[in-house]
Amino acid sequence: GGATGPADGAKRVDGGTIEYAHQQEPACVFGGWIEQAYLSYQVLDNLTSLDEDGTPVPWLAEEWSASDDGLTWTFTLKEGVEFTDGSPLTAEAVAYNFDHWLGGGNSTAQVWLDGYYESAEAVDDQTLVVNLSAPYPRLADNLTQSYFAIQSQEALETRTAEENCEAPIGTGAFVVEEWNRGENIVLTRNDDYTSWPANAKHEGPANVERINWRFVADGTTRTSALRADEVDALYDVPAIEWEGLDTAGFDLAKYVTPGRPQQLSFDTVEGPFVDENVRKAFAYSLDRETLVETIGKGVIPFEGNGGVSQSTPGYSQKAADAYSYDIDKANELLDTAGWTETDADGYRTKDGETLDVTLPYGAGSIINAEGASILQGVQEQAKEAGFKVELIPVPQSEFFAGAYSTPEERDISAGYWTAVTAGILHINWRQNLPDSPNYNNDAFYNDPVLEDLILAANSEADLDAQNALYAEAQEYIADHALSIGLYDRLSSLAVSPYLKDVWQENAQGGPVFHDAYFVE
């Protein structure tokens, strides 16, 4: 099936319902997971929005500035904005949201602000002051992520957790009409919408009346439904379907999420990877690029950088190019590291112990089917150098229950973390110390040098200087082979040619339906 597209200058129709097929169904509309961010973007607005070029532009905040010491931020809010429960958007309400996030209302917002945030106060109805304990010049950039979306204070205070989970009250373009668990969420237009971001493609309430946000876990089913005209747009185009959809005339959009790419972090405190040479040998043993290109069908981009993805400001190409396939080097390094013997199956051994490394991964949640194929390729390639990689697909529940979270349990950890700045490095590489634990440090790598580098970058006000510092941190990670990149995480969309102006917001690549309209 699938239409080749409408005639040029086709007539625009008002209203209508967008049938949208999304992959995963989160537990709540608002929360700390990207799947929730995609949904809350439709319903809630943020203070700032990220523009195409990576600069924050006004949204609920008309303007903002930081004090010279970088510790005090002042946001001026748009006037006349109302939450969909009728309560007005005030500085006080926004301040309440900040405290709400930090108090457990949003775990992701919390890790970003932790260590920097002091307090938020309303100076008057329209003016909000945020006090920081250390300078954080990219605060406005970070506030573009939907984890920092603003909800009605009244709703947060008076409604039940269930209500706020299922249908949070924001100022957004849509409101949650109903949620049929396991099937769909129906979002209806907020006819009184006034607070579109500065980078919106049109002004005024949404063009379409309704979004039927359906949950269709299977990629093939989503694609086929699009071809059969059962849906107008879908999220996460399987790589294998990309070309076909393109030829059939569908509009495809691909967004490489900034932040941490899909990468492998080595366990630096326990097991063979404590030895830097072994880490490097592993990196050299892989032909990551060919692997990703083949399985990703040229759609999934290869990513050599273990720190941040290529779409992240301050990305270091040098770090990305640090290792390429070189089996001789790999063998040499392993010999140096003392893994000189080889057993009957071709695996290296040292003192009778096999070079056995464990690679657990969140199957179906963190790593999708294509990612799993790539990991199998990694396993097979590393075998050539004599690594025995044990792949352990961990189901979501076990993974979330903290299985394989300790150095004893794993040697390599795979995963990503979306962000809008290289500030993600701070979350991933801050030291894990007894009095300030950092369980997000997957390499268990406690290095004050690296941490200081990142902290300096975080607080550096000059953009170029900051990027240089971030790049330095990435190169540090590459030099010590703490983590190597595999591929970039994508947010991709396929849209019917009869649906126009669907775009991907620039913070996380989620679909924006506010501007979308149908043509005949």
């Binding site: 083949t294 089917a369 189901p395």
Partner: protein, 287 residues
């Protein structure tokens, strides 16, 4: 001259014509089984390629002379993977059957032979477990012990056991109440001897057929778990895992899904057919 003559009066035609398996059906089933056993014992002989070797240049090839079942997204030869996967799949099926029948035997025997209260309680336990759909029970167990080949074996084994426990209980009870047990009692044989010589052997005999049936069914259940992502770890070529992995490519490379499914179905049907045949011939010996 009778009060009531008890000549067996069923017309000859009613001497039941059992559902016999057509001979060619049985032949095909045996041939399939032979192949699978060969693949279990000596996969290297049957396989044409290394089941794990990547061949990135030849990814997603349709079935051809070079690759009988085609290749997957990494260029691995599907036929060879199916052959090598036989071991995992079959062992899971056999293992699950062993677990299932062991549990079923213990529960069934207690429910049939123990004292009134113990038997009653165990019988209730069987009933409760039987109220769980097989997959649900298996799902619960896999979550508890984490997905692996072992947990598949265990979960499927436990999941399918209540049905067999019921069956075994019935079997033992009917042996226990049979004429030959009464005859042995009348001959003055001891309880233990009767149990050993008559009840247990006669109750266990039909299990031969059940084993075959159960191996086939267990593989299907295990692959269902694999399909839900709760199976053995890839890149193991276990059939359920193959099928699950192929699903992403179903429109472009349907063979990746259809062929492993076909293999599972073939084995299940072959096992069932053979099981039925054994059952039929056992019954023929008894009726």
């Amino acid at each position: 001259m009778t009060l009531q003559q008890k000549v067996p009066v069923t017309p000859p035609a009613a001497r039941s014509r059992k559902n016999v398996v057509a001979p060619w059906g049985l032949g095909a089933a045996l041939a399939a089984l032979l192949f699978f056993v060969a693949a279990l014992v000596a996969p290297q002989v049957l396989a044409t390629h290394d089941p794990y070797a990547l061949d990135l240049a030849n990814a997603l090839q349709a079935p051809s002379l070079a690759h009988w079942f085609g290749t997957d997204e990494s260029g691995r030869d599907l036929y060879s993977r199916v052959v090598w996967g036989t071991r995992d799949s079959l062992l899971i099926g056999i293992g699950a059957t062993a677990v299932s029948l062991t549990i079923a035997l213990i529960l069934g025997a207690i429910a049939a032979l123990a004292g009134k209260y113990v038997a009653g309680t165990v019988n209730r336990v069987i009933e409760v477990l039987f109220a769980f759909p097989t997959l649900l029970l298996a799902l619960l167990l896999v979550t508890v012990i984490g997905p692996s080949a072992f947990s598949q074996v265990f979960a499927v084994g436990v999941g399918t056991s209540p049905g067999y426990a019921r069956m075994i209980r019935g079997q033992i009870l009917s042996a226990k109440n049979s004429g030959y047990v009464e005859a042995a009692t009348a001959l003055g044989h001891s309880r233990g001897r009767i149990l050993r010589h008559h009840v247990i052997p006669n109750a266990i005999r039909p299990l031969v057929a059940v084993i075959a049936l159960s191996v086939g069914q267990s593989i299907v259940w295990a692959s269902s778990l694999a399909f839900l992502g709760l199976g053995v770890a890839p890149p193991s070529p276990e059939w359920g895992a193959l099928l699950d992995a192929g699903r992403l490519y179903i429109t472009q490379a349907p063979w990746l899904t259809v062929i492993p499914g076909l293999v599972i179905v073939t084995l299940a049907i072959a096992a069932t057919t053979i099981g039925k045949h054994i059952q039929a011939s056992l019954e023929k010996g008894e009726k």
